[in-house]
Amino acid sequence: MEQCIEHALQNREKRLKKLQEMDEKTMEDLLQELRIEHQHLIADEAAGADGAEQRYYQDLLEQNENQSLLIQKKIDRMYQQQTKLVTPKAPLTKNVIRAFFVGGMICLLGQIIINFVMVRYGLDFKAASPLASISIVVITAILTGFGIYDEIGRFGGAGSMVPISGFANSVVSAALEFKREGMIYGIGAKIFTIAGPVILYGTVASVIIGFIYYLMG
């Protein structure tokens, strides 16, 4: 039996050299063959007595699995190529213009707030800048609550996600979504599901940069 399988494996290896030219039906048939062989090999391995014999079967099994994988990958690739043909492309230019516009408007709003508080209340830039960030976060939170910000997001894409308002939106939307699971397991545990990575890696990055600053004196 096993000689037979060994032989079959070698034969197939030769045929697989022409894998590029095979059609799907042939490959499916080969796979079916390999599946049956695999099953026999497992049974033989289980019945095999000593270590050397088992190693021999394991070796054959490995060959068998490699061949299956090779064919499967080829079938997958063919399918994925076909998929690509019918998948519509995202309208890049339109999306970029929209993102630029929305992102720009949010930044403009920030600048207006900064200028306003500097002129009107005589704050210096260092105090005015966080004030602008805070205002935008609050405005976004309210807009998210009323279901307006997700419409802006749908329109603006990255333009509304990258500024601080995108961060606020991700926190507030998570809080809204999980409030039904309670204050602790819901809001408490899940509020940063989306924003978590930003907080974590933002903190790590600031530590590293702080360290570099320190070294540079």
Binding site: K73, I75, D76, R77, Y79, Q80, Q82, T83, V86, T87, P88, K89, A90, N95, T144, G145, G147, Y149, D150, E151, I152, G153, R154, G156, G157, A158, S160, M161, G166, N169, S170, V172, S173, A174, L176, E177, F178, R180, T193, I194
Partner: protein, 336 residues
């Protein structure tokens, strides 16, 4: 029959059905055909999950009402949904108080329920069974993707989970609509790992199932409609193309439920609808009445499911797809 096709020996009829749809679906193409449309997707409940459960129960009760039956006259309840541990269906079964099998076939659950339900009746293990599935956009979205209020742009391949539920009562005996054949699906995985491109992950399974059915039953001539569950626009194109490559020219009789629910342009759903509720509401509102209108006809419903787990997708694993097929024949009102 053939390699994979089941032929039911006893007559199994679809006695009645009911569909409940969400607000967005209620403004779509099939708006006037739903039995009930939710005013708000929360359905007066405090969570999306409870809303889904209530929707499903509503559908089941409406279907029973139409058939002039009570829940206690049912022998089995088969169903599924998209929530973790198919909890909405289990609560519906709790309320219905009849023997229950929970199914998870993702969006193919309805077809899976039809196959197994018909098997139970064909085997003589009961007289009537209910098959009921549901999905809820917001509940599914928060479980599988992002919070609902999060402002993200959806990709063009993404589908919109249908808020809706359909309940069907199967009965042993003659009736206008009969379930006569079925073809259980195999898992087909073509290495797609993008969870917002489920259409192409499932299309390969649909092709496999449809081709097996046609091979077993002797070709297309006999079939009036082939309807896939929720492949969406992209999956539909792939499926059609692949079937053509295999020599089955399905143009003109092949449709997809996911493309029937929404107005494509104004409702911003990209590739179409998806979810357990998708085939459940479209079958009852569009295709069964269509068969009746024509007076006769055969319809192959192929429920397609992407059996993905958000966990393994994050781990970079691929999405296994499945497709279950059932053949529904319209025999005319006379026989009953």
């Amino acid at each position: 029959m053939g390699k994979r096709t089941i032929v039911y020996e006893r007559p199994i009829a679809i006695r009645s059905w009911a569909t409940v749809a969400g607000r967005k679906e209620g403004r779509g193409k099939l708006a006037q055909y739903y039995d009930f449309i939710l005013e708000h997707n929360q359905f007066g409940e405090k969570s999306w999950e409870r809303a889904e459960q209530k929707m499903q129960q509503y559908a089941l009760e409406l279907a029973l009402e139409k058939a002039n039956l009570t829940a206690s006259q049912l022998d089995y309840f088969l169903g599924g949904d998209l929530l973790n541990q198919i909890i909405a269906t289990s609560y519906t079964a709790r309320a219905a108080n009849i023997p229950y099998f929970g199914l998870y076939g993702a969006c193919s659950s309805l077809a899976e329920g039809f196959i197994l339900g018909s098997c139970l009746l064909d085997g003589g293990f009961g007289r009537r069974t209910a098959v009921c599935t549901s999905s809820h956009h917001d509940a599914a979205e928060r479980q599988l993707r992002y919070p609902t209020e999060m402002g993200v742009q959806r990709t063009l391949t993404a589908q919109w989970t249908v808020t809706g539920s359909g309940a069907y009562i199967l009965e042993q005996g003659q009736g206008a609509w009969q379930v006569t054949k079925a073809v259980p699906g195999k898992i087909v995985d073509r290495g797609i790992s993008n969870s917002s491109d489920m259409g192409s992950a499932m299309a390969a399974a649909a092709v496999d199932t449809i081709a097996s059915f046609l091979q077993d039953t002797g070709g297309l001539n006999d079939l009036d409609y082939i309807v896939t569950g929720d492949l969406g626009k992209i999956g539909y194109e792939i499926c059609k193309k692949q079937l053509q490559e295999r020599g089955y020219d399905v143009a003109g009789r092949y449709f997809d439920c996911g493309m029937q629910i929404y107005h494509e342009e104004d409702q911003d759903v990209h590739a179409g609808g998806s979810g357990c509720g998708c085939s459940a509401v479209v079958l009852g509102t569009k295709y069964l009445p269509l068969l009746k209108k024509q007076g006769r006809g055969k319809l192959l419903l192929v429920g397609t499911g992407a059996l993905l787990s958000p966990l393994t997708v994050q781990q970079g694993e691929t999405i296994p797809g499945i497709a279950h097929g059932i053949l529904v024949e319209y025999k005319g009102e006379g026989v009953s």
